[in-house]
Structure formats: structure tokens, C-alpha cells
């Protein structure tokens, strides 16, 4: 476990200090981290009061800590996700945590931030100093993280685990991510281009329809990993597309985002154009599941999303026991025993239970 952790920590040279501090025992547990902007972050003791301004990190902190006690402030939209999703049922206390520390544009509210009295504020890096300066000017400790790739995800999750003094929690998580990724890639690495179905992930659907090119796109990362190719690979960045373009791509599988609450697979089946795509004709339209967090972007549950998609894309290659894996993961992450009804809800069984390949996710 420590070996696994060390591997990840190799990019975080200074985390070693924390280990020394741990082994020193007599000393207070001083923690030093270098964040994604290359800034040194120092903590005299493991962070006890954390504010997360980036949305996915709220559930990330809960998962890494195994509880809600260290989370003292979050993005309003992290809170709505908790209240509406399964996390609110697992941790009812989380619903009372303040969300006034930031606007949804990640601009900190310094007064509310100071009132929350955090010893660490997690904020986005790579988005300019305007959203960082208010934190540091208030004399608060900021940890800047960057979003996007699997590597960055593992790094910032490791930073946060280190900061809260629970490095032992991140090891198994990274190990799990690594193991699932390797297991899937072992079966898909040799696939010829012709054997890779085209998958179209739609980041928006209801007003405008958006899709993304492959560069810096986490969705494309796991679409390629599970032995498919992204239908929208030719785009640069995220772009609005039209239904005619989708018909021209004619993807084998369509993935709908979990961000739009009113979006479900009938949006495709009821559309005169989209219903004639191969994906719709073969009933291979799926909305991304919503667990402790949405499975579309990188988060603590990402490997579950990969397994879900691998099973759907290449049922002849993969046969994960998704329900079993989910129960294990939720036990580890949240110390929570998932019920079959919980799982049905997360996977949208009522809406897409009859989709091709979905019967294997049914409760036995």
C-alpha cells in the first residue's frame, strides 16, 4: 500500500516531509505539499476544517475522510448535488454545511470564508489569480488543483488526503484506479480501429448540443480506454453541434451527461433524426450514472464508470460484476452499505433498464 502511495507521491517530492513528521511522532504533524501551481502549502497540523470551492472536491473530501466532519464549506452546486444525490442520504449532516463561501463562478466570498474559519481552502489552479488572491489576502491557506486528466485527478486527490492527515486513505483508491485501468486496457489495447465502436458523449443536450474533441477531454480518455473511439474526436475543444452532424457521425453509442436533470434517453428516442442513428436503432443510448458524484467527470468513483462503460461497449470482452464492485467501493469510500434500490437509482434502471447490455446490471 505504501509502495502504491509512494509511486503516486513521486510527483509530490515534498510530501516526504509529512511522512517524516508522521514517523517523528513527538513533533506536531507538520505537512508540506506542493500544489498544482507549484506553490508550497504548509500545514502545522492535518487540516481539520476544509472549504472546497471546486464542485467535485466536496464529495472527494467526504470520500477521502470517510465522513463529513472536516468539510466546513463548499460550492452551492456541490451542496445541491449532495442534497439531491445519494450522498445526502448517506451523510444527512452534509446538508447543513454552508455554501455561501463562493459563488458558482468560483469567486470566493471572503467574509463567509473567514466565518467558516478553514485551515485549508481548495481552489482551482490554472484559472488566473482573481479567484485565488481573495483567499491568500485574507491570510487563508490555499491549495490549488488542476482539473482534466486522470493523472491530475490522482495527484490532487493525493494532496487532499495528505492535507487531512489520512494518506492511508488515498493509497487503495489510486491502486484501485490503476488496477481497473490496467485491467481494461489489457483487453482493449490490441483492438483494431474497426473493432472500436464510435461513442458520442454529449456534454449538453437540452438547449444547445455540445460535444468535445479528444484533447484534454476526460470523457474521451475513458471512451478510448474501454476500446471505443470518440465520434466527436475531430472537434477542437467543446463546441455546439447540430443533429444533422450527429446523423452524419452516426455513432454506435450515445452517452448523455448526468448534469442535466431533465435529460434522459427518451430525448434521443423521441427525436426524428437521432432516433434513426445506429445508437438509437440498437438501443445503445445511456445516460451517465449519478452516484456519490456524476460519473462523467473524474471523481472518486471513476473506476465504476469505466467498468460500466466497458461492459456496455464490449460485452464480449468484459463482464464486471458492477453491482458487487459498487457495493465494495461505497463501503470503502463512504462506509455505506448500498442497497439494490440505491444501485437501481444510480444507474437509472427505471429509465434505461431495457437498453442493450443493461440486463447484466440488473439485480440478481
Amino acid at each position: 500500500m505504501v509502495v502504491q502511495w509512494m509511486k503516486t507521491a513521486s510527483v509530490l517530492a515534498s510530501v516526504g516531509t509529512a511522512l517524516l513528521a508522521l514517523s517523528g511522532g513527538a513533533l506536531a504533524q507538520q505537512i508540506d505539499i506542493t500544489d498544482h501551481e507549484g506553490r508550497p502549502v504548509h500545514l502545522d497540523a492535518p487540516a481539520q476544517r476544509i472549504v472546497t470551492i471546486p464542485m467535485p472536491m466536496a464529495s472527494g473530501v467526504i470520500a477521502l475522510d470517510g465522513g463529513t466532519s472536516k468539510l466546513v464549506g463548499m460550492n452551492p452546486l456541490s451542496l445541491t448535488a449532495i442534497r439531491e444525490g445519494i450522498l445526502g442520504r448517506i451523510f444527512p449532516a452534509a446538508a447543513n454545511i454552508t455554501d455561501s463561501v463562493t459563488g458558482t463562478d468560483f469567486m470566493p466570498n471572503v467574509e463567509a470564508l473567514a466565518a467558516a474559519n478553514p485551515d485549508l481552502v481548495i481552489q482551482w489552479g490554472g484559472r488566473g489569480n482573481d479567484i485565488v488572491d481573495p483567499i491568500t489576502n485574507a491570510g487563508l491557506n490555499a491549495l490549488l488543483i488542476k482539473y482534466g486528466t486522470e493523472e491530475l485527478t490522482r495527484q490532487y486527490m493525493t494532496m487532499v488526503a495528505t492535507a487531512i492527515g489520512k494518506p492511508e486513505r488515498i493509497g487503495p483508491l489510486v491502486e484501485w484506479r490503476d488496477k481497473v485501468e490496467k485491467e481494461i486496457e489489457a483487453k482493449t489495447a490490441g483492438l483494431a480501429a474497426a473493432d472500436r465502436p464510435s461513442v458520442l458523449y454529449l456534454g449538453n443536450a437540452l438547449s444547445s448540443i455540445t460535444a468535445s474533441g479528444d484533447k484534454g477531454n476526460y470523457n474521451a480518455f475513458y471512451i478510448n480506454m474501454v476500446g471505443a473511439r470518440s465520434a466527436s474526436a475531430g472537434l477542437s475543444g467543446s463546441a455546439a453541434i447540430n443533429k444533422e452532424q450527429i446523423a452524419e457521425w452516426n455513432p454506435d453509442i450515445i452517452l448523455l451527461n448526468a448534469f442535466e436533470p431533465q435529460l434522459d434517453v427518451n430525448w434521443v428516442y423521441d427525436d426524428p433524426i437521432l432516433s434513426l442513428t445506429k445508437a438509437a436503432q440498437n438501443h445503445r443510448v445511456y445516460k451517465m450514472p449519478l452516484g456519490g458524484y456524476r460519473w462523467d467527470p473524474p471523481n472518486q468513483e471513476s473506476p465504476l464508470g469505466w467498468m460500466w462503460l466497458a461492459d456496455l461497449v464490449h460485452p464480449e470482452l468484459f463482464n464486471f460484476d458492477l453491482r458487487g464492485e459498487m457495493k465494495t467501493a461505497y463501503q470503502t469510500l463512504y462506509n455505506y452499505q448500498l442497497t439494490d434500490a440505491d444501485i437501481d437509482g444510480i444507474l437509472w434502471m427505471d429509465k434505461q433498464g431495457t437498453a442493450t447490455g443493461y440486463d447484466r446490471f440488473k439485480a440478481k
Binding site: T210, E244, F259, E260
Partner: protein
């Protein structure tokens, strides 16, 4: 009787319909050609002969349900989109023409009255509240009208409204609604509703359906028909206040009638395709260059030119690349330089006078 040389000669047969008729034939042919090309062009490749055959069948059997993908693309995606673009372009052009006449200022456009901004706020609010479809359109229209009523309320001082106060009140109301839209963007969910609002505000026909055509048609047709009916009156409203009134024009209520008609047109257009800038200012000018300032020929020219221009721009937007190019980007790229030229000419001419 004061006579001058040649005065006694019977008036020469005026050739008032010679050149304009040719121009109108040219404009209509351009519009029809752009519509036809637009119906055949797109990301999904449908051969031209096949597209034309589908269209012909669609015209012969309008009630038939298209089954194959190319039929559906031509008849359910492209046809309503092209029609909506043409109607919106025509509506914006005619609304801009009317406003420029009434304000006696060639540099105003429909958003001067804050109608577009009010309508935009209605749409953004609907998106935030998770309202889609018909109720969204209703809110767009309602708040566009609310902006107009606000302008009327603000600009009415001592029971009279002056053109300048209307422009200033439009500016105030427009700014207020712009701020409200920014506020909504501030509180919008950056993962879902924010991109939706941003995209919607940019203006697009990508969501065109026959249903939307039906929603936009009454307002656009009625508004355009009313302005057409007012075409001679617009010549009079373009006069100085005292001149117009001396000729029997009730300037104030008639001006408000034009504003109301413009609100109906712009509200209907924004409801189905968001804010589309520049058309309302560039097209009336182009039309004026072609057929002159008389609203009786100017309005129909603006209708045809606006429709053709919008169809061409939208065809570019949806078929030039895999991604939809935002309409506002293209209209601004074309419109801003044209506007700059007009501005220079306008002030140069005013100096010369």
C-alpha cells in the same frame, strides 16, 4: 402662375418602377436560390438531386411522415430551419427599418428599445428555472413587452414622449435587463444552465423545428404585415415632429404603434432563435442603397434582403465546420465593418449639409 422653361410641357412619364423592379427581381431570385442551396447543404451529405426529390415529394404530400434519415433531415431539420432563418431575418430587417424611420436616425436598431434585452432576460430566467419549450417562449415574449412598457413609462414626462427620452429610456431599460441577465449567469449552474444561457443568448437556429416555426410565424407575419400597412405612414413619421403633425399624423400614438409592432416581431424572433445582432441595422441600410428611402419600396426590399442574408449566414454557420459557428459571430464580423462604414458616411454627409 409662375412658369419656368419647360414647365408647361406635360410631365414626362416617370420611370419610377424601372430600376426598382429589376432590383426586386434580383433580390427575390437571390432569396429563392439561397433557400434552395441551404436546403441542399449541410453536414449530413444528401446528394442535391435526392434533396430536390425529397423537397418535391414533401411539397406534393405535405402531410406524409418522412421515414428515412435523409428525408427527415431535409424536411424536419433543414426546411424548418431555413424557413425560420428567412422569417427572422426578414422580421429583424423590417423592424430595424421601421425604427430607423421613426427615430429619424439611421443608426438605431431593435435592441435600442431594450426589447431584445428584456426578451433575453425572459429566456435566461426560464432556463435558470428549468423551463423549456412553449413556456420559455412565453416568458421571452412577455419580458420583451415588459421592457417596452418600461421604456414607455420612463420616457413619458408630463404626458409627452420625446424621441430622445425614448432612446435614453431604452438604454436604461436595456442596461437593466443586461445586468439582470449577467446576474442570472452569475447564479447559473456552470455545468448545465450557464452554457445553455450563453449559447441561447448568442442566437442560433439550431433548435429549429416545425413547432417553432409555428410559434414564431404569427408574430413575425402579423408584425411585418402591420409595418407593410404603415409603409406610407412611416415616410411621414420620419419627418420632423411639427411637419408630421401638421400633415395630420398623431405622432405619439403612431410611434408607439410602431414600437409595439417591433416588440411583437423581435419578441417572436428572440423566443425561437435568441438575440441576433446587426441584421436590424445592416440590412435596412443595404436595402436603402438599393431602392432608396421610400418605405413603400424600402420595406419589401428589406424583407427579401434580410431573409436572404439570414439564410446564407445560417447555412454557413451550420455547414462550414462540424461545430455550429455562433450566428452572432458571423453577423458581427459582417455587420461591424459595414456599420463602421455607414457611421463614417452618415457623419460626413451631415457635415456637408
Amino acid at each position: 402662375m409662375v412658369t419656368y422653361a419647360g414647365e408647361a410641357v406635360a410631365s414626362p412619364t416617370p420611370r419610377r418602377h424601372g430600376r426598382p423592379t429589376l432590383i426586386f427581381i434580383g433580390l427575390v431570385v437571390t432569396l429563392l436560390a439561397s433557400i434552395l442551396v441551404s436546403l441542399c447543404a449541410g453536414r449530413f451529405s444528401v446528394p442535391v438531386d435526392r434533396a430536390l426529390a425529397i423537397l418535391w415529394q414533401g411539397l406534393l404530400h405535405p402531410g406524409a411522415t418522412p421515414t428515412t434519415i435523409d428525408e427527415r433531415i431535409v424536411l424536419l431539420v433543414r426546411a424548418p430551419r431555413v424557413l425560420l432563418a428567412a422569417m427572422a431575418g426578414a422580421g429583424l430587417a423590417v423592424a430595424g427599418t421601421g425604427l430607423q424611420g421613426v427615430f429619424r436616425n439611421p443608426l438605431v436598431s431593435p435592441d435600442i428599445l431594450g426589447i431584445s434585452q428584456g426578451a433575453a432576460f425572459g429566456g435566461a430566467l426560464a432556463i435558470i428555472l428549468g423551463i423549456w419549450g412553449l413556456p420559455l417562449i412565453g416568458m421571452v415574449f412577455l419580458l420583451g413587452l415588459a421592457a417596452l412598457v418600461g421604456v414607455g413609462f420612463l420616457s413619458r414626462i408630463n404626458g409627452r414622449t420625446e424621441t430622445v427620452t425614448v432612446i435614453l429610456a431604452g438604454l436604461v431599460v436595456g442596461s437593466m435587463f443586461t445586468a439582470l441577465v449577467s446576474l442570472l449567469q452569475f447564479i447559473a449552474d456552470p455545468n448545465s444552465s450557464l452554457p445553455a444561457i450563453v449559447f441561447w443568448l448568442m442566437g442560433s437556429f439550431s433548435t429549429a423545428t416545425w413547432e417553432r416555426v409555428l410559434i414564431a410565424t404569427p408574430g413575425l407575419l402579423l408584425g411585418t404585415a402591420l409595418l407593410w400597412g404603415l409603409r406610407f405612414r412611416l415616410n411621414l413619421l420620419a419627418l420632423e415632429e411639427t411637419e408630421a403633425r401638421s400633415l395630420g399624423v398623431r405622432t405619439e400614438p403612431e410611434r408607439w404603434l410602431v414600437f409595439l409592432v417591433v416588440a411583437v416581431i423581435v419578441g417572436s424572433q428572440v423566443a425561437v432563435s435568441g438575440i441576433i445582432g446587426w441584421i436590424g441595422i445592416v440590412i435596412p441600410h443595404a436595402a436603402r442603397l438599393l431602392v432608396g428611402h421610400d418605405h413603400r419600396t424600402l420595406l419589401p426590399a428589406a424583407v427579401v434582403l434580410g431573409a436572404a442574408f439570414m439564410v446564407i449566414i445560417d447555412t454557413l454557420a451550420r455547414s462550414a465546420t462540424s461545430a455550429e459557428i455562433p450566428l452572432g459571430v458571423i453577423t458581427a464580423l459582417v455587420g461591424a465593418p459595414v456599420f463602421a462604414l455607414l457611421l463614417r458616411r452618415y457623419y460626413r454627409e451631415r457635415k456637408e449639409q
